[in-house]
């Protein structure tokens, strides 16, 4: 891949997760667990002013998804309370927090996946490039095409590897060479070399890690803007987890990624920004603190955040 990414990749391999620590960290990270913090390759703080000369840095500061006082209700129960945060373009934003803090609910509200659950309701705004995704004329199907999703448990279709990736382009009637698109998607998902000789085989016959990368290939085959990942590595072994994290770094060049994770090390290693959520007295999730991942993990402003990222609760 291109040079700016290499440092990230190398960084990930330089500090691999200790399998034992990693395993424990899924439930509750150990207090003394080493936390590798991702450092931007340029080492310099990103300019926050719009309209700077270099297009790359300009792009990096534009929020693609913005939540504005978003609350989410299951029936009369408010599961998420007035959440506000921005998701910068072409960066990885991690949502962390204990069980019940609404991470997955927020994630699934961003591509209107929660519409599938009866009697759910959103208040406030979820903006995508400035447009309210819950506006009157918004088609949730179109939303999900632009904001793709990778689930906790790999869920390939019981179809061939090729058909898994080709499914999205087919249902959207995408023009062009399907073979090329499938190959390109599988390459971007870092799966091509492993499956190029068995594209006709069933996707469900792959290993867990391969299945998850197949699901990522399937998601990017429809050329989304944003990819939502709901604990994408929690069902995988440490090796496959690392592969997914490396892949996320490669994907961030083209896509904006929002990832929910229980794994503190993963958030620290793999994300640029972190949103820390907690469950309040009313059992609704709310944002405690957000910021660059480095700051959240090394210099949190809130005591609760510090306790959580250092493994004292959660």
């Amino acid at each position: 891949m291109t040079t700016p990414l290499e440092e990230n990749m190398i960084h990930s391999t330089v500090a691999p997760p200790d399998p034992a620590v990693e395993g424990a960290a899924v439930a509750a990270p150990g207090r003394d667990a080493p936390i590798a913090v991702k450092i931007h390759s340029d080492g310099a703080p990103k300019p926050e002013v719009k309209g700077t000369p270099t297009p790359q840095t300009d792009v990096a500061t534009v929020p693609v998804v913005r939540l504005r006082g978003m609350s989410f209700y299951y029936g009369s129960f408010r599961a998420v309370r007035e959440v506000t945060f921005d998701v910068p373009k072409n960066e990885i934003t991690a949502l962390i927090g204990p069980s019940g803090s609404g991470k997955s609910t927020i994630l699934r509200a961003i591509n209107r996946m929660n519409d599938l659950i009866p009697s759910t309701r959103v208040e406030g705004e979820v903006l995508y490039n400035g447009e309210d995704l819950y506006g009157d004329r918004v088609d949730p199907v179109e939303v999900r095409r632009r904001i793709g999703m990778v689930f906790q448990k790999p869920n390939p279709f019981p179809k061939s590897i090729f058909d898994n990736v080709a499914f999205g382009p087919r249902v959207h009637g995408l023009k062009g060479n399907l073979n090329d698109l499938v190959e390109q998607s599988l390459r971007r998902a870092a799966l091509w070399d492993e499956v190029k000789d068995k594209l006709k085989q069933s996707g469900t016959a792959l290993s867990g890690g391969q299945q998850q990368r197949l699901c990522i290939a399937r998601a990017i085959a429809v050329e989304p803007d944003v990819i939502l990942m709901d604990e994408p590595a929690s069902a995988l072994d440490p090796r496959a987890t690392l592969q997914i994290e490396e892949l996320m770094h490669e994907l961030e060049e083209r896509y904006t990624i929002i990832v929910v994770t229980h794994n503190m090390q993963q958030a620290a290693r793999a994300s640029d920004n972190t949103v820390f959520l907690n469950m309040g007295e009313d059992r609704a999730g709310y944002v405690v603190e957000m910021g660059p991942t480095t700051q959240i993990f090394t210099n949190p402003k809130n005591q609760l955040t510090e306790d959580y990222v250092s493994g004292r609760f959660g």
Binding site: P118, R144, M149, N155
Partner: protein, 310 residues
């Protein structure tokens, strides 16, 4: 290995591993299970052996003419061709009417309808309909298909009989199809929605292929249920003596009086015990069994094919 000071004597280890002797209750339970299987198979075997042994002379003496002859007052000349024709037409009507309506109803209830009280009420009522005795469906068929729609169906015709049986199996088709749809993992639907497929695309390309083996098995089995029903056909007015179709055209046969295999079995079984119709009854049962068994075999074949091919 543990140190010598802490080693447990071999005898003690052996005794502790030996268990507590025979598990009598477990053995008795297992014996009961086995007994149930034996009893079931025994009944089935006696039934089949009895029927086949009584039917055998008919097939050896008459051969194919039993299948190709019409009903007659003379046992020696009686055959089941009219019953085969009637059952065949009934099967086609059930496939054309009950399968699409039933499967589509199930798809609507499972995939499209909002999960409200009304939907639940409808589902429960469909379940209840499946438990309604078949003779009641016969009365419905008599009122609706024979009398009300008589001008269209030809009155006491095979079409009226077929429609009645189609309505009879409709709830079964809906229930088995709905259960197959419910068995499709939600993760599959989410995967489809997650890449921006519409409900129609998710249902058509993911849910239905996944549920197809179960839907097919259930619907085809309901067909063999329809072919075995007698009571509704009696009420609807299937012929219970013998009748001549003579040189009647197929259209005449469709809109005229009819009979079906189970009706023939029923009629012949009503003849005096020692009459010459006894062996014929057994032979007709064998024909009916073969028809339903081949339909079931077809269902299994179809399911295996679908499971491999999608």
């Amino acid at each position: 290995m543990a140190g010598a000071s802490t080693a447990v004597p071999a005898v003690v280890v052996r005794r502790s591993l030996a268990g507590q002797g025979a598990d009598w209750r477990g053995l008795i339970f297992q014996g009961l299970l086995l007994l149930s299987v034996v009893i079931t198979l025994l009944f089935l075997f006696i039934l089949l052996a009895d029927v086949f042994s009584r039917a055998l002379p008919v097939f050896t003496e008459r051969g194919g003419s039993f299948l190709s002859s019409s009903l007659s007052s003379s046992a020696a000349r009686s055959g089941v061709i009219q019953g085969l024709f009637g059952s065949f037409v009934i099967a086609i009507i059930v496939v054309i009417v009950a399968f699409p309506i039933g499967i589509m109803t199930a798809i609507y209830l499972e995939e499209y309808a909002p999960d409200t009280r009304l939907t639940q009420l409808i589902s429960i009522n469909i379940r209840n309909l499946a438990g309604v005795p078949s003779v009641v469906y016969g009365l419905l068929g008599l009122a609706v298909f024979v009398q009300l729609l008589g001008p269209l169906t030809g009155g006491r015709s095979v079409i009226a009989g077929g429609l009645t049986l189609a309505v009879l199996v409709l709830p079964i088709v809906i229930i088995t199809s709905a259960e197959s749809l419910r068995a499709v993992p939600q993760a599959l639907r989410e995967a489809g929605y997650g890449i921006g497929a519409s409900r129609w695309q998710v249902t058509r390309s993911l849910v239905l292929p996944s549920a197809a083996p179960g839907i097919l098995t259930g619907t085809v089995l309901s067909l063999s249920r329809a072919l075995g029903e007698t009571a509704p056909l009696i009420v609807v007015g299937a012929v219970s003596g013998y009748f001549s179709t003579g040189n009647a055209s197929t259209v005449d046969q469709l809109f005229g009086r009819f009979t079906a295999l189970p009706m023939i079995v029923f009629n012949w079984a009503r003849e005096p015990q020692q009459s010459a119709f006894g062996p014929l009854t057994a032979a007709a049962i064998v024909v009916l069994l073969l028809v339903t068994l081949s339909i079931n075999a077809f269902a299994i074949l179809l399911r295996n094919r679908f499971e491999k091919n999608w």
